[in-house]
Symmetry: C2
Subunit: 429 residues, 2 copies
């Protein structure tokens, strides 16, 4: 890892840079696929599935017998593990339910808000060799808790036209209502417009490659909501003498194996820690199967040494990491200084993979500095909060004159009149 000693703030922008992925050139492709699918529905979805996934699919919907087969294929050890993770995710996301509180802002004027589920949502799960069934848990469980009626999953078929059984298993366990063997731009377009097979959704969640990301952005322009802008995964570890360098190395490597474009950053108050972590990385790396990926990711990565941990935290806030591990003394007391992060992992035993799978927090988090302005996925992501107000006759009498004066000052006479007409009738009644 390239190491920087006491980098001055002018260098911080450079040190906080992510590898940029150009998406602009995908826009034309995305628009063309969307237009075709809007016009030609399933027929076009089939065409692009043949073209991009190299497989011909007759019926996109996963059948009950396919799900049964998938369930039978999952070893019971994995089923148990998934159940434990699902229980934790369920507990933590259930705790995010908001209990409506009625506030009387002026005597006779009551305000509150209530949450309502987004009726129909889409979950996109990428294909590839590693089946990301954990992401199914992270998206379908809160959707179910929120009360979403239709939870539609799309995932690209493999060369034999199948979705990985672990994905189907997680989907049926968590209450996904429909599953479709479709991926890429064509999946996002189908969810955006709806086809005769695949329902139109109001919000799309889930990770994906740059095509899926560009397609989700385009869907957003067309009026759908999306979970958040996506980018390569990243981890920043703040470590001091209390850390275990082998643990830190293992965390940096676990992030690095996600992809060659992942980024890991070590920030510390001691050059010695950098040296020890580097040695541990070399040692642990040697036995990892994804070495090429890991090495590519480590090229984007850096170690920064600051005079003290407070300064290290300042840099972390500037960087706004997706995942932040605090492997420092009294880590819990430092949380209050963290301004920007997707999720924080406290102390030596809170490895990032705990949050990736099973602790209960959501692993769909803001990358690429978006932790400055976006939250990760939570129960909130699956609901709208509707405000409600009730004015009694006393309430409008108390607040009416205020509204009349303000409406008049904004030159909105009909707004004023809606109050005046009520006040007059109450006076005369």
């Amino acid at each position: 890892m390239k190491t920087y000693i006491n980098p001055n703030p002018e260098q911080w922008s450079e040190l906080a840079k992510r590898k940029t992925v150009a998406t602009a050139d995908l826009n034309e492709t995305v628009k063309a696929v969307f237009n075709d699918i809007q016009k030609n529905g399933s027929k076009a979805v089939k065409k692009y599935t043949s073209y991009f996934d190299g497989v011909s699919i007759e019926n996109f919907e996963v059948t009950a017998s396919e799900i049964e087969n998938a369930v039978a294929q999952i070893p019971s050890e994995l089923k148990n593990a998934i159940q434990i993770a699902a229980d934790n995710i369920s507990k933590f996301h259930s705790s995010q339910k908001e209990i409506p509180t009625k506030i009387e802002t002026t005597s006779g004027v009551f305000c509150w808000r209530e949450s309502r589920a987004i009726d129909t949502i889409g979950i996109y799960i990428p294909g590839g060799t590693a089946p990301l069934f954990s992401t199914v848990l992270m998206l379908a469980i809160p959707a179910k808790i929120a009360g979403c009626k239709n939870i539609i999953l799309c995932s690209p078929p493999d060369k034999n036209g199948n979705i990985n059984p672990a994905i189907l298993y997680a989907a049926q366990l968590t209450g996904v209502t429909q599953m479709y063997k479709v991926g890429g731009i064509q999946a996002i377009a189908a969810l955006t417009f709806g086809t005769d097979e695949i329902p139109k959704v109001s919000k799309i969640f889930g990770p994906g490659n740059q095509y899926v990301t560009a397609a989700k952005q385009y869907a957003q322009q067309l009026g759908l909501a999306i979970d958040m802008p996506a980018g390569p995964s990243e981890l920043l570890v703040i470590a001091d003498a209390s850390c275990d360098p082998e643990f830190v190395a293992s965390d940096l490597l676990s992030q690095a194996e996600h992809g060659g474009d992942s980024q890991v950053i070590l920030v510390t108050n001691s050059e010695e820690i950098v040296a020890k972590v580097s040695v541990a990385i070399e040692k642990q790396k040697a036995v990892l199967p994804r070495q090429v990926t890991v090495e590519k990711a480590l090229e984007n990565s850096r170690a920064l040494v600051f005079e003290d941990i407070q300064r290290a935290i300042e840099f972390s806030n500037f960087y706004a990491p997706e995942h932040l591990i605090l492997a420092i003394e009294n880590a819990e007391d430092k949380i209050e200084f963290i301004e920007n992060a997707g999720s924080i992992f406290i102390g030596n035993y809170s490895c990032e993979s705990a949050g990736d799978y099973a602790s209960g927090t959501n692993h769909t988090l803001p990358t690429n500095g978006y932790a400055k302005n976006y939250s990760g996925v939570s129960l909130d992501s699956f609901v709208k909060k509707i405000t409600i107000q009730k004015l009694t006759s006393q309430g409008i009498q108390n607040l009416g004159p205020t509204i009349e004066i303000m409406a008049a000052a904004e030159q909105l006479d009909a707004h004023k009149n809606a109050v005046s007409i009520r006040l007059k009738k109450l006076q005369n009644g």
Copy 2:
């Protein structure tokens, strides 16, 4: 108002249609202005201010003496009214603060979340004859409660290079930190990139014309967050025999005066109510100064008569109105059936203008059917919620095997190893 009796569900899509505003053709203009301002900063902002607003501005920032002048110009009656509204908005938004709750999902595994303010936000307030100072209250008050450090207001200068004093008054009252005399695409571009005068922000709030809307969408593509997609304002009233037709008429008119593209819809279970409301509209309209606007808006508007109120609510959910008035018997008992709405107004005395100005709820709400997938602005809009997890040594021992099994099944060995290395050391220690 055009009236439809028992329209069948096939007609609903047509009846729920909003007037579409094309924005695609603005994209080139928006991009050109953004590129110029990114490259040339203040110089370019000045150029576009001359060109679009017809006024030459030397220093964009509003000075302390300009603010003092503005404060002196506001009549004390209006100051008092603004203060009452601000107090109510403050009370309701303060009640939206989330108190962190630590959940122990597995013995020794603790998860919780904490809110952090978005550091720097931008508030856009449109110009024009009517000064929308109420929107300043709706955006700056929750920003301040959330703890945003920099609250940057931009509003276009008039022909004399000034911002309306009521806007400046509301801004200084609510703790806006900087105010700039700049509007349109050039304001949004300046907030997106920052210039030597105007700071770069992380999120942009506030209404605007189609240029501002297109510019905000482009800012979002560039990585900024925005409050929500914007569209013309709208109101749906559900009324039964318990309503006061004159009140309903006054509410429909107050919405109609917002702009020719506003939409008002009356849904009821009785043709008689439509007739009475129509008579009241004609009578009240005659004395309104904005008659041309109101009449144009009424052209987009319709009355629907259904057999019963339950059916009326179904249509309302399908339409997903920004504002929904329930002028029906036992209105509060019907709230549970409302799935999609920005804000709900209960009973005969809860006029929309109460929420527009002073009840305490936010008036920045989802339009154009976005109430299906977006919430209105609330305290949540100004914070990120960071999840936090802490595993004790007991916690990782309890949950570790679960994580190992799941990571292995996703073929992420380094993720597994981050757990194994900890479990091994604990075993050996």
